[in-house]
C-alpha cells in the first residue's frame, strides 16, 4: 500500500463515468487496522462500484497537515468526497453491511 494509490476507473464497462465515486482513506502508517481497512474497502468497491470509484489513501504520518481538512480524528477513516454529501466511516470497515449503509449503497442495490 502506498500513499495516493489511485484505482483508475475502468472505462467503457458502464456509461456512468460522470458518477465517479471519490473515496479517500486516511491512515497513519501501515498498521494492521489500516491494511485491513484498505483490503475491505477494495473488496466492497469491486463488488458494488466496479469501474466507477477512485480511492485515495492518505498517510497522515507523511502528510499530517491534511488531517485538518477532512476533520480526521479516528484512524482509519473513509471519507466519501463524491457524490455529495460527504460521509465518513470510521473503523476497519469489517462490517460490510454498515459500510454499505454508511456509503448509501445499500438502498441503491
Amino acid at each position: 500500500m502506498k500513499t495516493s494509490t489511485v484505482q483508475r476507473p475502468r472505462s467503457g464497462s458502464h456509461r456512468r463515468s460522470a458518477k465517479i465515486w471519490q473515496l479517500r482513506l486516511y491512515v497513519a502508517g501501515q498498521t494492521p487496522k489500516s491494511l485491513t481497512a484498505f483490503s475491505n474497502l477494495k473488496t466492497i468497491c469491486e463488488t458494488h462500484l466496479k469501474g466507477r470509484y477512485r480511492i485515495e489513501v492518505i498517510d497522515l504520518l507523511e502528510q499530517p497537515q491534511l488531517s485538518k481538512g477532512d476533520q480526521i480524528l479516528a484512524i482509519p477513516t473513509l471519507v466519501r468526497k463524491l457524490p455529495q454529501p460527504v460521509r465518513k466511516i470510521i473503523g476497519d470497515l469489517s462490517d460490510t453491511e454498515r459500510v454499505l449503509v454508511g456509503l448509501d449503497l445499500r438502498p441503491a442495490d
Binding site: L61, S67, I90, R98
Partner: protein
C-alpha cells in the same frame, strides 16, 4: 532498583511549575500549573473555562515566550478569536505571528458511521503536527468531552484518552483540558481519572440573585496550594482571582497629612487630619451625616487640587450635589473643573466582581488621589460578608499601592449590628470615625468620635456634630455627672449651670455682706466694751487712789498712835513692805 540510591528516590522539593500569568491563580497554586503535565479545568456552563484556558495560552505566548496550541472541539477559530478579543486578548495577532495555533476539531455524529476497529491516531497526528509546527510548550483541549458526543464507542474513546494524556506528558507540554461539570463527579465523563496531577474547579453560583464566580484548586499532586474557594472575575484584562490570603503588606507609606475639611475634626486627629494614602472607615446609623462628612472631605481635597473619585451606591451624583449645597458645599464647580468625578451605580446592578472590576477601571482611568466609597455596606447585598471583605481588601490594597487616600462610609443599623459588618472591615482600616445619634428630650443629636487612628495622637473626646447651612462643625459635647448631653439638653444644661453659678455667686456675696455686717457689729461691741472697760479702769484707778490715800492716812495715824504709846517692839513687826523705814524711824 527502587532503593538503589537516595538521590534518585528523594523527591524534588519543587515540582516544576508553569506560570499561567493569570492574576491571582499563580499565587494560589504557588507558581502555576504543573509543568509538562495536563491540568483539568472543570466547571458548569458559562463559568469561564474556555477563557481561563485561552488566557493561559495567550499569556504564555505573550509573556513567557511559550507558544501554544488551542484545540477547540466546540468553537470555530473565528468564534474563538472574536470571543476572547472582547477581553483584550489578541488571539488573531498571535496566530498570525505563529505564536499560537488554533485548531477547530469539528465532529458531527450524524456524519459518522462506525464499522469495526479504530483508534484516534488522527487526533494525535493532528495535535502533534500543530505542536511541532510552532514548537508549542502549551496545549489547550477545549472541551475534550465533545468527543463523547461525537464518537459512539466509549470503550475505545476512554482507552484513547488515557493514551492521549500519557502522550501529552511524554511530549512534555503543559496542557489544560477543560471539561463540563458532572452531576456526581467532577466531570461529566469522569476525565478526572485520567488527569490526576492538577484539577481546578470553576463555579458560577447565584446567591440572592447575584452571580459570583469561584475558583478552587481541588487537587494539586505534589504541591501545596490554597484549598479555599476564591472568587474570581472576568474583566477587561482577562481573569482575576482574588486570593485574599496572599496579599502582601508592603505598601510605601506617606507621612504627609491631608485635611478632613472640618477644622475641628483635624484638631481631633492630632491637629493635621488623615495620613495621605491611608484608609478611613466612617460608620454611622442612618441619617448621621456620613455622606456629608465624605462630601466635605471630597470638597477639601478637590480644592487642594487633588483629584477625587466618588463612588456612590445610594444617591445619584446630581442628588448629592443638590443635597450638599444645602449645607454649604459647592461641589458642582469642582465637578466641572474635572477635579471631582462621581461614579454612581446601584449595588444590585451586577455582582461584586463586576463592581470591583468597574471600580478598578475607573480608578485607573481617572488616577485619583482620593477615593470615596459611599457606602461600602451597600455592596454587601452584592455578595457575602466574606466576599465583600475580600473585595475591600483588594481595593484598599490597590489604592494603598498607588498612595490613594480612601474613605469608606459604612451604614449600620444601630444596636448590636453596629459591630457586625465593621469587625470584618475595621481591621483593614487605618482610621475609624464613628457617627452616632443620641435620642432624648424629643430630639436626636449627632455625635462623632474617633474610634481609632493609627499612627497619630487622636482625641478620645466625643464631639457633638452639627450640620448647618454653613457646613459641618463640631462642638464640645457636655460631659458631666449626668452623662453626655447634646443638643438642647446641652444648651439647657449649660444654662442651668450658668444659673447655678450666678446663684452661688450671689450667695457668696450675701455671705460676704453678712460677714461684714457681723464684723461691724462685733467692732461696735468691742468699742462699747472697750469704753466700758475704760470707764471701769478709770473708776478702779480712782478707787485705788482713794484706798491708797486711806491706807496712808491709817498708817500715819497708827504710827502716830504707836509713837504715842512708845510700843517700839512692835515697830519692826508692824513695818509693812513699801513702808519706808524712815517712817518707823521717824
Amino acid at each position: 532498583m527502587s532503593n538503589k540510591s537516595p538521590q534518585s528516590t528523594s523527591p524534588t522539593t519543587h515540582l516544576p511549575k508553569c506560570p499561567t500569568g493569570i492574576q491571582g491563580l499563580d499565587e494560589i497554586t504557588g507558581g502555576g500549573v504543573p509543568r509538562g503535565r495536563p491540568t483539568l479545568v472543570c466547571g458548569g456552563a458559562g463559568c469561564g473555562k474556555t477563557l481561563l484556558a485561552a488566557e493561559f495560552l495567550v499569556r504564555g505566548a505573550a509573556q513567557f515566550d511559550e507558544p501554544g496550541v488551542f484545540m477547540s472541539f466546540e468553537e470555530t477559530d473565528a468564534e474563538l478569536k472574536a470571543n476572547v478579543a472582547s477581553l483584550g486578548f489578541d488571539l488573531a495577532g498571535l496566530a498570525r505571528r505563529k505564536k499560537i495555533v488554533l485548531d477547530h476539531v469539528y465532529i458531527e455524529r450524524s456524519e459518522i458511521t462506525e464499522t469495526g476497529e479504530y483508534d484516534l491516531e488522527g487526533l494525535f497526528v493532528r495535535l502533534n503536527h500543530a505542536i511541532d509546527s510552532i514548537g508549542a510548550k502549551r496545549v489547550v483541549l477545549d472541551t475534550l468531552e465533545a468527543l463523547f458526543a461525537g464518537l459512539p464507542n466509549e470503550a475505545i474513546l476512554r482507552a484513547e484518552l488515557r493514551r492521549l494524556f500519557r502522550w501529552l506528558k511524554d511530549k512534555g507540554v503543559t496542557a489544560i483540558i477543560t471539561a463540563e461539570r458532572g452531576r456526581e463527579q467532577l466531570t461529566r465523563h469522569g476525565l478526572e481519572e485520567y488527569v490526576s496531577d492538577c484539577v481546578i474547579l470553576l463555579d458560577h453560583r447565584v446567591h440572592d440573585q447575584i452571580a459570583t464566580r469561584h475558583l478552587r484548586v481541588v487537587k494539586y499532586r505534589g504541591a501545596l496550594h490554597g484549598t479555599n474557594e476564591f472568587p474570581f472575575l472576568i474583566g477587561d484584562e482577562g481573569l482575576s482571582v482574588l486570593p485574599i490570603t496572599s496579599l502582601g503588606l508592603n505598601h510605601k507609606v506617606s507621612s504627609g497629612r491631608i485635611s478632613t475639611g472640618i477644622p475641628r475634626l483635624d484638631a481631633m486627629l492630632g491637629g493635621r487630619g488623615f495620613f495621605r494614602g491611608s484608609s478611613i472607615l466612617l460608620t454611622g446609623t442612618p441619617g448621621t451625616g456620613k455622606t456629608s462628612v465624605a462630601a466635605c472631605f471630597a470638597q477639601a481635597a478637590a480644592r487642594r487640587g487633588d483629584r477625587v473619585l466618588f463612588f456612590s451606591f445610594e444617591e445619584s451624583p446630581n442628588q448629592i450635589i443638590r443635597n450638599m449645597r444645602s449645607i454649604g458645599l459647592r461641589l458642582e464647580p469642582l465637578v466641572q473643573g474635572g477635579l471631582l468625578r462621581f461614579h454612581a451605580a446601584r449595588p444590585t446592578l451586577c455582582g461584586l466582581e463586576m463592581h470591583l472590576a468597574s471600580m478598578f477601571k475607573e480608578i485607573a482611568a481617572f488616577q485619583p488621589r482620593v477615593v470615596i466609597v459611599d457606602p461600602i455596606t451597600s455592596l454587601l447585598v452584592a455578595g457575602t460578608d466574606f466576599e465583600t471583605k475580600g473585595m475591600v481588601t483588594r481595593l484598599i490594597d490597590f489604592l494603598k499601592g498607588g498612595q490613594v487616600t480612601s474613605l469608606f462610609t459604612s451604614l449600620t443599623h444601630g444596636g448590636h449590628a453596629l459591630a457586625q459588618s465593621e469587625i470584618a472591615m475595621s481591621s483593614l482600616m487605618d482610621s475609624w470615625l464613628l457617627l452616632q445619634d443620641f435620642e432624648g428630650n424629643g430630639e436626636r443629636n449627632r455625635v462623632l468620635y474617633v474610634l481609632k487612628a493609627r499612627g497619630m495622637a487622636h482625641s478620645n473626646q466625643v464631639r457633638e456634630f452639627l450640620i448647618s447651612s454653613r457646613g459641618i462643625d463640631l462642638v464640645d459635647a457636655y460631659i458631666g455627672p449626668s452623662g453626655v448631653l447634646t443638643g438642647s439638653a446641652r444648651v439647657a444644661q449649660t444654662a442651668r449651670e450658668k444659673a447655678e453659678a450666678l446663684a452661688s455667686r450671689q450667695e457668696a456675696a450675701r455671705r460676704q455682706r453678712e460677714l461684714q455686717r457681723k464684723r461691724t457689729v462685733l467692732e461696735q461691741q468691742i468699742a462699747g466694751l472697750r469704753s466700758e472697760y475704760e470707764t471701769e479702769e478709770v473708776e478702779l484707778r480712782r478707787m485705788d487712789e482713794q484706798a491708797g490715800a486711806r491706807t496712808h492716812a491709817l498708817t500715819t495715824e497708827r504710827t502716830e498712835l504707836a509713837r504715842l504709846r512708845h510700843a517700839d517692839a512692835s515697830t519692826a513687826a508692824a513695818r509693812a513692805p513699801g513702808q519706808p523705814i524712815s517712817k518707823s524711824q521717824r
